[in-house]
Amino acid sequence: MIRVVLPPHLRTLARVTDEVTIDLPAAVPLTRTALLDALEAQYPMLRGTIRDHVTAQRRPFLRFFACARDLTHEPPDALLPGAVASGEEPFLVVGAIAGG
């Protein structure tokens, strides 16, 4: 069970009040792409809000953190930390600080 923490606006959009949990088959390598694919499959209203519909590129003002590390610029197909895969640590989708 993988834990994902969404920013408040996306929690509202997904109609959840806390972190969400995603189950991925153990055989699937836990990459950011695999995790976001599963998240969007479970919460289709989030499609296009984290990644572009067509290019799958991260939206510019979003960041990905986990285990006190900024994973934003890691390749999307790089493996996520084991502590995320085990559910010990959440994967955080964070709205970048922008604006006044």
Binding site: P7, H9, T12, L13, A41, Q42, P44, R47, G48, H53
Partner: protein, 392 residues
């Protein structure tokens, strides 16, 4: 009719204002979609309970919301939660993908960028939603970068009407300061195949085959801010309006100049007359008097507030040229707000109600055709759009 429902889009959420036919006592609901920019909300003429809203954010992009109960509850069409991966809805209601050339597979066309080079179209947001006059599930979307999309499944999926961008003038279109947006969509009630749209900064366009093919309708416009002031395209049209009983008569608030066409846009003539300034954004037509029109003059393109700090709606009851200032109930000193292009509307009651919203967060209503005004609310976030539904 028993009442009205005013749909207000703001920089930080949506608000729904309701009143009975007297339009004196108002109930305010909101913010809906708190914290998001709501560029536009509009109800279906065919089913007043069906509403559409354009919700967007610099962080999270575009979201389309739909209500089937007059705004009490909302959903993202085709976007519900599913616990069976792969079997659920596709979440495509916010997927606006421009057509490519069927011959080359490359972008259909490019447009002019700020530095004069050609630039590919990039979707940014939905500026305007225009529901069909007859089908609650059919709705048009005007988007930035300027394009026209249509949904026939209640906003679940969208298809571009690419004949607009592809008819040949696209490379001459260019973004204005607010972006290159398709902000006005008018459907001819006597001929649903006839559509009018307007783009900043390209101009006005008409289709006579339900959006398949298009042509510019800008003859008679004169814009000093483009190299050829009388060019076929390139004009910064801010808003178009028509009266349902005379759909061939169009009114236009341009970047500068208030204009009128009596031939479906084939030709235009200026009707600015005695306005204190002919710059502005909104224009609308009285519900029962096709020759009565309203504008809100703004000082200039570099000073987006009313002249002399006096918020005045101007009304012409002669189809233009002769204008009177409507001031009763509006601030007549120290007022420096703007009224954006989608932020004025009229209801169908008698007397006709007129509404507009300001960047200062006020929504003003007149229940007597503009003779007198009162704020419904005065401390909302900056108002982007105002629409009204007249309820049975």
């Amino acid at each position: 009719m028993s009442g009205v429902r005013v749909l207000v889009g703001t920089r930080k959420g949506a608000f729904i204002l309701t009143a009975d036919g007297k339009r004196r006592d108002w109930n305010v609901s909101g913010p809906h979609f708190a914290g998001w920019e709501i560029y536009h909300m509009k109800g279906s003429p065919a089913d007043p309970a069906r509403l559409y809203a354009s919700q967007s954010s610099g962080w999270f992009g575009q979201v389309i919301q739909r209500s089937s109960d007059g705004g009490k509850t909302w959903e993202t069409p085709g976007g519900g939660v599913t616990m069976v991966p792969g079997a659920g809805p596709k979440g495509e209601s916010n997927m606006f993908v421009y057509d490519v050339s069927p011959k080359t597979g490359k972008p259909l066309t490019t447009h002019q960028w700020y530095d004069g080079t050609q630039h590919p179209w990039e979707f940014k947001r939905v500026w305007h939603l225009e529901p069909s006059l007859t089908d609650p599930d059919a709705v048009y979307a005007g988007v930035e970068d300027a394009g026209l999309f249509r949904s026939s499944d209640g906003g679940t999926t969208w298809q571009e009407l690419a004949g607009l961008r592809g008819h040949g003038t696209g490379p001459q279109w260019q973004p204005g300061a607010g972006g290159m947006c398709l902000h006005t969509i008018l459907i001819d009630p006597s001929n649903p195949k006839r559509l009018y749209i307007a783009i900043s900064a390209a101009g006005a366009f008409r289709s006579d085959d339900a959006g398949r093919t298009w042509r510019p309708i800008n003859r008679g416009l004169h814009s000093q801010y483009i190299p050829d002031p009388g060019a076929e395209v390139g004009h910064c049209v801010h808003r178009l309006a028509l009266h349902p009983s005379r759909p061939n008569v169009l009114f236009m608030q341009k970047h500068w100049d208030v204009m009128r066409s009596d031939d479906g846009g084939d030709s235009w003539r200026e009707i600015s007359g005695n306005l204190p300034t002919d710059f502005g954004f909104v224009i609308d037509v009285h519900a029962h008097e096709p020759e009565t029109i309203y504008v809100v003059p703004i000082k200039s393109d570099s000073e987006h507030y009313p002249p002399e700090g006096k918020l005045r709606v101007y009304r012409s009851q002669s189809g233009g040229n002769e204008w009177e200032a409507l001031t009763k109930g509006l601030p007549q000193r120290d007022c420096y707000v703007n009224v954006l292009r989608d932020a004025m509307c009229v209801d169908m009651l008698d007397p006709c109600g007129v509404y507009f919203g300001t960047t200062g967060g006020q929504v003003y209503a007149s229940a007597d055709g503009g003779d007198s005004w009162a704020p419904i609310v005065h401390d909302l976030p900056a108002v982007l759009s105002v629409e009204v539904q007249s309820l049975p």
